[in-house]
Symmetry: C2
């Protein structure tokens, strides 16, 4: 590939000649690794035109650079970066850069990287037994039809939709499908003005915190909970109260009276998968009305209720408009899609739309339209059915293997989902266990990340089966049990 | 299309029988417009299974609903929503909803919708003479190759890239191209750790405000400036100082000494298109170093410098690391893509990455990979060349028409770009002019939105030629001149 002339600029320094300046910028480009050995240099004519200098000046500079072995001349083919060109070690570049005088620790007013939850290694797909949560399984994904929908969405007919930044509104086709097909399955009726497309559930949660919380307000969070939410709420600097969940999820009677916003996962609590019974849902809504707080309902993974019919969303029972509901396609399509939605009263949605517009304008139109086609052509429903069938089989295998090897879930569940919330013997530190298991190519999620604090959290862990092949489950579970026994220094009590 | 059984839920109320509950949820679904006339109801067997009731209960409920004309029975084909089914007017639904007791004005802690800049009508493509800025022109876009790249990016080979939410890093292929091909054209050398992909320039600007500003810090903005930036800085609640630009852009000597962050568009000022000369750039960088402020350089539309070779970015002269640089593909590909990038010292980038991860995780992988292919296969360069050629021709036509009809640019320019910054006679209010021009199917951008305040701003306006066909330019300009003369009550002085 030829190096474009446009990548060279004169420094404009008065002390050096034009020819010297050209020699300097070319050698600098080679030393910095920007121009690689063997690449073709711009022709003398092109470079002279671009820099606005006489061609002979460039020719003289190139000749000098050949003499100093930065370039080679191949006759009529032109000039190339020499294979023997001098190289500056990467370190030197770093050094030059790090001599910057800016004190960034002082310049940065909002330090976000503190306590950023890290759940899995970037190369998790290289692990043989990835019991990790929330990633898509290429074996279950309807790749062919997704591809067909992507192609359709990039067609000429849809060009305006694709190209324009219509931040005032979302893709009407996607909205229509969510309103008419997705929300009714959760028992929710909504108007187009009551829904906003987001960059996944994470983005939706973040927006609620921005719009509803301040330093003087109080948020209530389930304990344990989704680590991404804790990160958001800590950054918002609001007062934060934790309420321990029980086997029915969040107990409404334990919510403090001065709560402003209550975050909850009633359909299946994250990470324990507990489902909140109807009576408790009504009690929660009554509390919200009486004590005037807003409920944020994260209805993630609602599609995966294959063990029994899903309970309708809390939002479907909401008469006073106190529930801000959110769903996501991350689990049912794939997380790299970054699409979710918020359903809430119009005054909230219009502010959320303004916030979204300021922060990022809108989720890319192409992703919205591709998803709209995938949903409306029926591929989504087929995909969910296929996933549910596969998860059901994997879950049965998991249950059998867990029992066989003496590993015990923390609580009974009835929902389905894609993971088990597990409890190890008290003496086991699952964070250490997880690190050791990596040596055996096993990935598990230690409980620590889900809890606010406290040592008792360290014996919990999550085992997901959404990314692991059925054929690997038994061997993986056996490895977990074996390494756990090493940690305990004793056999697991419940091993069959 | 059949209505899925999964969209019905029992209310669980004790006072009514199961059959009554079923009648109620079905009639409610029809009244609310969720189930439409002619649609097929779930079979009695399916609905009974889903609700966990006896089939006869559903059959009895359906029979009652037929009697009350909500449903019709078509023998073996099953039950359908009756064409004569009662309908509740939309208003009633709205009423029920708006009876909510929540006082959202009080609940919402951060009101973002105030002063949200509105630049163009949503249906701008329906206007015959759209002199509006920043939207893509379908006639110039290489749709065929973009489509091929989108298809390639959704291939099986790239599935992991597409599906995973790898928020730790950006698409390595896209990064590589930006580092090796885009940045060098701006004179910038950077390492992968010094760059972050963003959801367009808007998202990049927003992140700098989040990370660098607080209520106790001072931001400096050019006047006039990009309205989206003013919205962001006002929301950040920092102290805000405006510095009037002159024909060379931002004058460094007028920057207050206590500035913390200075926002600037040196390559061509927005909206006047002034280019900052080299000497002034050096003076600006010297000031930044002496007074310890950060410069945010918005290098939007740098590809469109077709009148002369572009000047290298301010960032390329930055020795102390005080410049946070941002670019975007919105103008050169299309704005609905929502992709841009920040180049800055590593400590800043790592915080920006953490912030992005918290707010939205990452720009969708598919958009990143499609763009990477479009760039690396050479389509991007071809596209820019084609756009520049077309813009050059349109610009010449514009200049000729403007001269002919007595409309005058506010300042001479040398860069290129895609718009003219115009000055009407002092008596003309361009906001009113713009509203009147809509009647003639002409869209212009009044100056008001670009200025902080002051009545003198009202005689400025922007005319962009990136979305208007060459053949329409002369007629559109003539219309602007005619309506302007109506406003003035006199002929324009400079008309040829």
């Amino acid at each position: 590939m030829a190096i474009p002339a446009e990548t060279f600029f004169l420094s404009g320094e008065q002390e050096t000649t034009l020819q010297q300046q050209i020699q300097q910028i070319v050698s600098e480009a080679i030393l910095s690794g920007r121009c690689l050995a063997g690449e073709k240099m711009p022709s003398t004519r092109h470079l002279a035109e671009h820099l606005g200098v006489a061609r002979i000046t460039v020719t003289n500079a190139y000749t000098e650079l050949v003499a100093s072995e930065y370039l080679t001349s191949r006759g009529r083919s032109g000039f190339f970066v020499a294979e023997t060109a001098p190289q500056r070690p990467i370190l030197a570049i770093t050094e030059r850069r790090s001599s910057a005088q800016i004190d960034w620790a002082r310049k940065i007013s909002q330090k976000v990287s503190d306590a950023l939850p890290i759940v899995r290694p970037a190369n998790w797909r290289d692990y043989k037994f990835p019991f990790i949560y929330g990633q898509s399984d290429a074996r279950l994904f309807d790749h062919r039809n997704w591809r067909a929908c992507a192609l359709k969405a990039v067609g000429r007919k849809d060009f305006d939709t694709l190209a324009t930044d219509h931040y005032e509104r979302d893709d009407p086709m996607l909205l229509e499908f969510i309103l008419r097909q997705i929300l009714p399955r959760r028992g929710i009726t909504a108007r187009p003005e009551e829904i906003l497309i987001t960059m996944g559930a994470q983005n939706a949660l973040w927006m609620t915190a921005q719009l509803l919380l301040t330093q003087r307000r109080k948020a209530v969070m389930e304990n344990p909970c989704y680590p991404g939410l804790r990160h958001i709420l800590r950054q918002s600097r609001c007062t934060l109260d934790l309420v321990d969940v029980d086997q029915d999820g969040l107990p409404p009677e334990r919510i403090p009276q001065d709560a402003d916003v209550v975050y909850t996962t009633p359909s299946h609590h994250c990470p324990s998968n507990a489902t909140m019974p109807l009576a408790r849902r009504r009690a929660l809504l009554d509390r919200a009305e009486r004590d005037d707080f807003i409920i944020v309902e994260d209805d993630y993974e609602f599609e995966m209720s294959f063990l029994k019919s899903p309970s309708p969303a809390l939002k479907s029972l909401d008469r006073s408009g106190s529930v801000v509901y959110m769903g996501s396609f991350s689990k049912s399509i794939f997380p790299g899609l970054r699409l979710g939605f918020i359903v809430a009263p119009e005054p909230f949605i219009s502010e959320a739309r303004a916030l979204r517009s300021m922060v990022l304008r809108h989720p890319p139109s192409h992703m919205q339209r591709t998803t709209a086609y995938f949903l409306s052509l029926g591929h989504f429903d087929a995909q969910i059915t296929r996933m549910a069938r596969s998860y059901r089989a994997r879950r049965a295998l998991m249950e059998q293997s867990l029992r066989q090897h003496g590993l015990t879930p923390a609580a009974p569940e009835t929902f389905g989902g894609s993971s088990f919330w597990m409890k190890a013997p008290d003496l086991v530190d699952t964070s250490k266990l997880a690190m050791d298991l990596r040596q055996h190519s096993v990935l598990i999620e230690p409980g620590e990340a889900f809890f606010a604090a406290g040592d008792e959290s360290r014996s919990y862990y999550r085992l997901a089966y959404s990314s692991i092949a059925s054929a690997r489950i038994e061997e993986g579970v056996a490895l977990i049990a074996r390494v756990m026994e090493d940690h305990l220094g004793a056999p697991l009590p419940d091993r069959e």
